[in-house]
Amino acid sequence: MTDIFKLLRGNPDDSDYKKKGVIVQGITGAYGSLHAKNMMAYGTNVVAGVTPGKGGQKFEGKVPIYNTVKEAVDASDAKISIIFVPAKFFLGAAKEALEAGIKLLVAIPEHVPIRDTMEVIDLANKKDAIIIGPNTPGVMIPELIKIGIMPPMPFKAGKIAVLSKSGTLLYEISDALTNAGFGQSITIGVGGDPINGTRMIDAFDMVKDIPDLEGLVVIGEIGGDSEEILAQRIIDIGFKKPTVAYIAGRSAPKEKRMGHAGAIVMGTYGSAESKVSMFNKANIPVANRPSQVPVLLAGKMQQSD
């Protein structure tokens, strides 16, 4: 698997170490331009934008805009792109990015049809590229690079990896972690859709070998079985770093979609009970509420001392 840190941060001998270039697809739209500005303010090196028909213009007076991703890649050599296009245009935009050689694609749009996501994942696998999302807040290494829509305040550089299906819960829980003195080494939003480019287990594989990792926080929710599979993997490989989970949707009625396309319990498939019991089996405490996460994490750290 492609190393996500190599893509986000690079190696010390890279000329662009810690300032990897990022392309923004849909940079002139209301949403794309707002978050392009926010990412730049955070320190992300936005090197190009793409909006068909607006090639030749400049964004904020400095970032060149191209008509196609290929032109943007040729000019900037960027390997990362973030997509802000309406859901029905996602398939085309994502394929274009992968064909142009993008290796890390952050897919922000919500409401992408499942079939389109599956096609994009299929292509990404052939091209050895990573898709984060769709319906994700994005990915960030706090205080270094933000490729997404998350507000900056909750996050602080540190040594805890946070994986989340939800955006606002990622902010909420990272905020609580930061206040308790737990900064984050990386946060990955796997997204709230039924099919994810990077699944919980893939995100775990990306972070489990971080040399100075001190803990892991998993923010799940009802629907599917990605939390169960992750818990099984943690048991199988004997992962020993302090890990805490939170599962949203315990009180949700069955067979109802709770906001996220993926947050639905069908029969027993996707129930909170199933997830909680697998985490318990893996000796991972599950918080009852977001503010309890740092408390449980501190407890786990004491145990392992």
Binding site: A87, E221, D225, G249, S251, R257
Partner: protein, 368 residues
């Protein structure tokens, strides 16, 4: 969209999957006509978008007019798992030899479509040990793959041929209509040796609605849900008395959980989406004002960049316009929260520093 049985069967019929004669009605007058056309005996089946109908008494055999007059209104009046009857399906009684199970579903962790088949049908598939599972990528099922499944099901001769045909039709339907789950349970072997779909379940991918005008007639939405969708909100109505509003599906689910843990009963799940503005919060309050069971509103907003004063303005405007006259218990994370508290001091909206405090106040306040 979770289609009702008779709607799923309309699609099955369109794709050439064998069915028993059946007719759907919503009134007993209509039902009487159907009863005459079909002839006794038949089965009266409640149409609700949830499982477990048989156990709840929603499927009744009917032999004559007297039974019909008694049972039709009974079944029509049932509520199953909170769902009222949408219609009644009358279906000819079947002469069944054996019941099988067959479905195609979207396997989320493997990220592919998966066939599940079993020689034991008619019961919930989760409880069946003998399952044949086959991953089929983006959903194309070749004749060869279908034959393999038939063989594992130990079906032979014309029965195997018929099974292969149904499985391929089911797959075509699933792919073309972008379904997350297409299920025939039971798929019955009839006394005459043919195969028939006796029940049908069909769950479509709502995000592909824009490509499927032909399915929109099955869309079932209340006026409130239509308005919510227009504003980009997600709304699920529940049966409690405290409306729960927040931004982000995960955060709102989490708030429902904490409220329930503390003995509160949520009246709805309302996610106003990413950012919160005066307009979006005002529209959320408008929707809630249309739900008569609501006695109080619990608000949980994590506004990274949101100014809480902007949200406070929406509450003040809602009271000024007499839109709502309900207590609001709010936790607003964001900037200018001291100023927002000051603005709301004389109103029925109270702002709390933590969601735990807001929930406690809401549960206590509503009980009074």
């Amino acid at each position: 969209m979770h289609l009702l049985e008779f709607q799923a069967k309309e699609l099955f019929r369109e794709y050439g999957i064998n069915l028993l004669p059946s007719k759907a009605s919503t009134t007993i007058e209509e039902g009487r006509k159907h009863a005459k056309e079909l002839g006794y005996p038949f089965v009266i089946k409640i149409q609700v978008p949830v499982g477990g109908r048989g156990k709840a008494g929603g499927i009744q055999k009917c032999q004559n007019d007297d039974e019909f007059e008694l049972k039709y209104p009974q079944v029509l009046g049932l509520t199953i798992k909170g769902e009222k009857a949408r219609a009644i399906l009358l279906e000819k009684m079947a002469d069944i030899k054996k019941e099988l199970y067959l479905s195609l579903f979207l396997n989320r962790s493997k990220r592919c479509y998966t066939i599940i088949a079993s020689p034991e049908g008619g019961v919930e598939i989760e409880s069946v040990k003998n399952q044949i599972i086959k991953e089929v990528g983006l959903g194309d099922v070749s004749e060869q793959v279908a034959r393999e499944v038939a063989k594992e099901m130990k079906l032979e001769g014309t029965l195997a041929d018929e099974f292969v045909d149904i499985l391929q039709k089911l797959a075509k339907l699933t792919v073309e209509k972008e379904s997350e789950l297409t299920e025939i349970n039971p798929l019955a072997i009839m006394q005459n040796g043919s195969l028939m779909a006796l029940d049908g379940k069909f769950v479509t991918d709502d995000n592909s609605n824009f490509r499927h005008d032909e399915l929109q007639k099955y869309q079932e939405k209340t006026e409130i849900e239509v308005r919510a969708e227009k504003s980009g909100f997600s709304l699920v109505e529940l049966d409690g008395d405290i409306a729960v509003v927040g931004n982000g599906a995960g955060l709102v689910m989490s708030t429902l959980d904490m409220l329930s843990d503390n003995g509160g009963k949520p009246a709805c799940f309302l996610d106003v989406g990413g950012g919160a503005t005066t307009e979006s919060v005002y529209e959320a309050l408008t929707l809630i004002s249309k739900m008569s069971r609501v006695k109080g509103i619990l608000v949980n907003l994590y506004g990274g960049i949101v100014k809480t004063t902007v949200v406070a303005e929406a509450f003040l405007k809602a009271y000024d316009d007499n839109l709502i006259n309900l207590p609001v218990f709010a936790r607003l994370k964001g900037t200018e929260s001291e100023k927002a508290k000051e603005m709301l001091k004389e109103s029925r909206t109270k702002i709390y520093d933590s969601i735990e405090e807001a929930i406690n106040a809401a549960v206590m306040g509503i009980k009074k």
